[in-house]
C-alpha cells in the first residue's frame, strides 16, 4: 500500500491544513468560552499529525511494487466512471425532464451499456422498475417527485 498510503496521506495533509485555516478564520474563542472554530481547528491539528505520521511511515516502508496494477487492474474502473457520470447526468436532468423519463433513461443506460442485456429485457425491466418506484414513492408515500415534462398533467 506504499503508493496508495502516500497519495491518501497527502490528501489528508491538504485537508487538515484547510481545516486549521477555516477553524482559525471562524474564531477559536478562549478555553473558557470556545467559539465556532475551536473543534474544527483542533480536529485539523490532530488530523495533520496523523497524516504526517502515515506519510513518514510510508516513506520508510519497503513494499509497494505492482501496486498501481493491483488498485486499478482490469477494465472495470471504466464502468465505475460511466456509472458515476450517468448518476451526475441524472441528477442534472431530474428536475427539467421529470422523474419518469429521467429514471427510465438512466435505467436503460445501466441495463444496456453497463451490464448489457437484450433491448427487450432492458426496456421491460426499466419500465417495470420506474412504474413500481413511482407508485410506491409518488402515490403511496406521497413524495413530491419532479414532474418535469409532465408538469401540465
Amino acid at each position: 500500500m506504499k503508493r496508495a498510503d502516500c497519495i491518501s496521506s497527502i490528501f489528508w495533509v491538504i485537508l487538515s491544513i484547510g481545516l486549521i485555516k477555516w477553524g482559525w478564520e471562524l474564531d477559536l474563542g478562549t478555553l473558557a468560552a470556545p467559539d465556532a472554530g475551536f473543534i474544527i481547528f483542533g480536529v485539523g491539528v490532530v488530523m495533520l499529525g496523523l497524516a504526517v505520521a502515515i506519510l513518514i511511515q510510508t516513506l520508510y516502508a519497503k513494499t509497494g511494487l505492482q501496486e498501481r496494477k493491483r488498485l486499478w487492474s482490469g477494465q472495470g474502473w471504466r464502468k465505475v466512471v460511466f456509472v458515476l457520470a450517468s448518476l451526475i447526468a441524472y441528477s442534472y436532468f431530474l428536475v427539467p425532464l421529470g422523474f419518469l423519463p429521467a429514471t427510465f433513461l438512466l435505467l436503460i443506460f445501466l441495463f444496456k451499456w453497463i451490464e448489457p442485456h437484450r433491448w427487450i429485457t432492458a426496456i421491460g425491466i426499466s419500465a417495470a422498475m420506474v412504474s413500481v418506484t413511482y407508485l410506491v414513492f409518488g402515490y403511496w408515500l406521497g413524495c413530491q417527485l419532479p414532474k418535469g415534462l409532465f408538469d401540465y398533467l
Binding site: P34, V80, L87
Partner: protein, 503 residues
C-alpha cells in the same frame, strides 16, 4: 411486577396491527438484505427510512430495528451456501458453515444458525429489558463531561477495533466529526464550512452520506470486480439439528450469547467483533480445535449466536443514554430524531409506548425470524440466484429515490454521489466507513458537551478527570489509544485485525 406491567404495555403496542405488520416487513427485509451480498443493514435501513415517514414513530423504529436484527439472521445463509457473507458479522460463519455445506450438512448448519440466532436474540431482549431501566435511571446523573468522555470512549473503541490501521480509522473518525459540524454553530449560529451554499446551512444529512458510503460505493466496487455467485448445488434437507449437533454446540451457543450481548453494549462494539471473538473463544475451548475451519458446528453456533446477541445489546446505550454504539444504531438514532423522539434517559418516561413496544416487538420479531428462516430457506436460495447485473440498477435507483424523497433536494443526490465516489476510493485505499458514520452522528454531541464542560470549568480540561465516571471513561479511552504503541500488545491487536479481514 412493574417490569411485567411495562412489558404488557409493550406487547399492547407491538401487537397493534400496524406495528405487527411493520415488524414483519422489517424482519423480512432484514433477512432478505442479510441474504443478498452487496447491500448491508446500514444501506437497507437508510433506503427504507423515507418509507417510515408516514407511519408512527413506534412502527418506524420497530421496522428499522427488525431490519437490523433480521439481517443478522439472514447473513448466515449466504455464508453457509455460497461462502460469501451477506453482511460483515457473518464473515466468520463462512469458515465452518461452508465446509459443513460441502460435506452435505448445509441443513444442519442453517438450522443451528437459525436456532442459535433465535436463542441469542431472545436472551438479548430479556437482557435489554432488565438492564435498560436501571441504566436509564443511572444515566440521569450524567452531565456534559460524562457524556463527552463516554462518546470519546465509544469512538476510541471503534477505532481500536477497526479492521486495519488504527491511524486510518482515527482519521476517518476525525473527518466524521468535521462533517457533523457543517452548518450553523449551535451556540452562536455562525455558519461553518458552508462555503456560501444555502443547502449546507442545515448541515449534511445522515442518509445521503450513508447511502453514498455503503450503497453507491458497494455497487461501484462490485461492478468493477464483476461479482459472480454460484449457489452450492447440494440438497438442503434436515434443517432440525440432531441431538449430537445440539450436544456439540450447546456451550458455544451459551458462550456466544453472553459474550455477544456484552460486546454489543460496549460503545464501538457490535456484531462483527462479537462473532470473531466468539469463534476464537470456541476454538480455544474446543477439545478438537483442529476441526475448526473444516466443518465444526460449534464454529457456526458460537459466532451466529454472538452476532445476534450483540444486535440486541447494542440497543441499550441508544435507548438509555441516547448514544449510538455502531453505524446501524447511529442510523436508528437519526430515525428517532426525524420522528421527533429524543433518545436518552428520559425516553422510558416520556415515550413508554415506544420504549417497551420496541422491546416487545423484538420478542415477536425473533419468533417471526425463526419461522422465516427455516421453512423459507428454499426461497432465500432462489433470491441468491438473482444476478448482480439485475440487482445493481435496482439498488442505485432505490438510493436515488430514497435520498431525493427525504427533502426533495437534488443537492442531496449530489452529496450521495460524492460520498459514493469517496467511499469507493476509501475502500481502495483501505479506510473504513464505520468510524466516519459514528463520528458524524456523535460529532455535534461531542462538540456541545465539550464546550459546555469547558464553560462549566472555566476552561479547565481537568474537569474530565476530576469527576469519577468521566475520569473512568476518558482514562480507558487513553489506555486504548496508547495500547497499540506497546510493542507486544500492538502485535496482538494487529493479529486480531488480520483475522478480521474479510478476504
Amino acid at each position: 411486577m412493574e417490569l411485567l406491567y411495562h412489558l404488557a404495555t409493550g406487547f399492547g403496542v407491538a401487537l397493534e396491527p400496524a406495528n405487527l405488520f411493520a415488524c414483519f416487513v422489517g424482519v423480512f427485509i432484514g433477512t432478505l438484505i442479510g441474504v443478498l451480498p452487496g447491500i448491508g443493514p446500514v444501506g437497507a435501513m437508510s433506503l427504507l427510512l423515507p418509507v417510515t415517514f408516514k407511519s408512527s414513530p413506534e412502527a418506524a423504529i420497530i421496522m428499522l430495528a427488525g431490519i437490523y436484527y433480521g439481517s443478522m439472521y439472514g447473513g448466515s445463509t449466504t455464508s453457509i451456501l455460497v461462502n460469501i457473507p451477506g453482511e460483515a458479522a457473518s464473515v466468520v460463519t463462512c469458515l465452518d458453515g461452508y465446509q459443513m455445506a460441502r460435506q452435505g450438512r448445509a441443513g444442519a448448519a442453517l438450522g443451528i444458525a437459525a436456532f442459535g440466532s433465535f436463542i441469542a436474540g431472545t436472551f438479548a431482549v430479556v437482557g435489554l429489558m432488565l438492564v435498560a431501566p436501571p441504566l436509564s435511571r443511572f444515566a440521569l446523573r450524567f452531565g456534559p463531561p460524562e457524556y463527552f468522555s463516554l462518546m470519546v470512549l465509544g469512538l476510541t473503541i471503534l477505532v481500536y477495533l477497526a479492521h486495519g490501521s488504527m491511524v486510518k480509522a482515527l482519521i476517518m473518525g476525525l473527518l466524521g466529526i468535521v462533517l457533523g459540524l457543517i452548518g450553523l454553530d449551535p451556540f452562536n449560529t455562525k455558519a461553518r464550512l458552508t462555503f456560501g451554499q444555502m443547502d449546507l446551512m442545515d448541515g449534511i444529512g445522515l442518509v445521503p452520506i450513508v447511502m453514498g458510503l455503503f450503497g453507491v460505493s458497494e455497487v461501484l466496487l462490485n461492478i468493477e470486480r464483476q461479482v459472480t455467485r454460484e449457489a452450492l448445488k447440494t440438497k438442503i434437507g434436515g434443517l432440525l439439528p440432531s441431538a449430537q449437533d445440539w450436544l456439540e454446540s450447546k456451550w458455544a451457543l451459551i458462550r456466544g450469547t453472553v459474550l455477544g450481548f456484552f460486546l454489543g453494549i460496549l460503545p464501538g462494539g457490535g456484531g462483527v467483533i462479537a462473532s470473531f471473538i466468539s469463534y476464537a473463544v470456541e476454538k480455544k475451548f474446543s477439545k478438537t480445535p483442529e476441526l475448526f475451519g473444516k466443518g465444526a458446528i460449534a464454529g457456526v453456533a458460537g459466532p451466529e449466536s454472538a452476532n445476534n446477541a450483540a444486535a440486541g445489546g447494542a440497543f441499550i446505550p441508544l435507548l438509555t443514554l441516547g448514544i449510538p454504539t455502531n453505524a446501524v444504531i447511529a442510523l436508528l438514532l437519526g430515525a428517532l430524531m426525524i420522528h421527533g423522539v429524543q433518545p436518552g434517559p428520559l425516553l422510558m418516561k416520556q415515550n413508554p409506548g415506544l420504549f417497551w413496544g420496541v422491546i416487545a416487538s423484538m420478542y415477536i420479531g425473533n419468533v417471526m425470524l425463526l419461522v422465516l428462516n427455516l421453512p423459507l430457506i428454499g426461497i432465500w436460495v432462489q433470491v441468491l440466484k438473482i444476478p448482480y447485473r439485475i440487482l445493481f440498477p435496482i439498488i442505485l435507483l432505490l438510493c436515488l429515490v430514497g435520498v431525493y424523497s427525504i427533502s426533495n433536494s437534488v443537492f442531496d443526490i449530489y452529496i450521495m454521489i460524492g460520498f459514493g465516489l469517496f467511499g469507493y476510493l476509501m475502500r481502495k485505499f483501505e479506510y473504513e466507513g464505520a468510524p466516519l458514520i459514528l463520528a458524524f452522528v456523535l460529532g455535534p454531541m461531542v462538540e456541545v458537551n465539550l464546550r459546555k464542560s469547558l464553560i462549566m470549568s472555566d476552561g479547565n480540561f481537568f474537569i474530565f478527570f476530576t469527576r469519577p465516571l468521566s475520569a473512568f471513561f476518558i482514562i480507558l479511552a487513553i489506555v486504548l489509544l496508547v495500547f497499540p504503541l506497546i510493542p507486544g500488545l500492538g502485535k496482538k491487536r494487529d493479529k486480531i485485525a488480520a483475522l478480521d479481514e474479510p478476504d
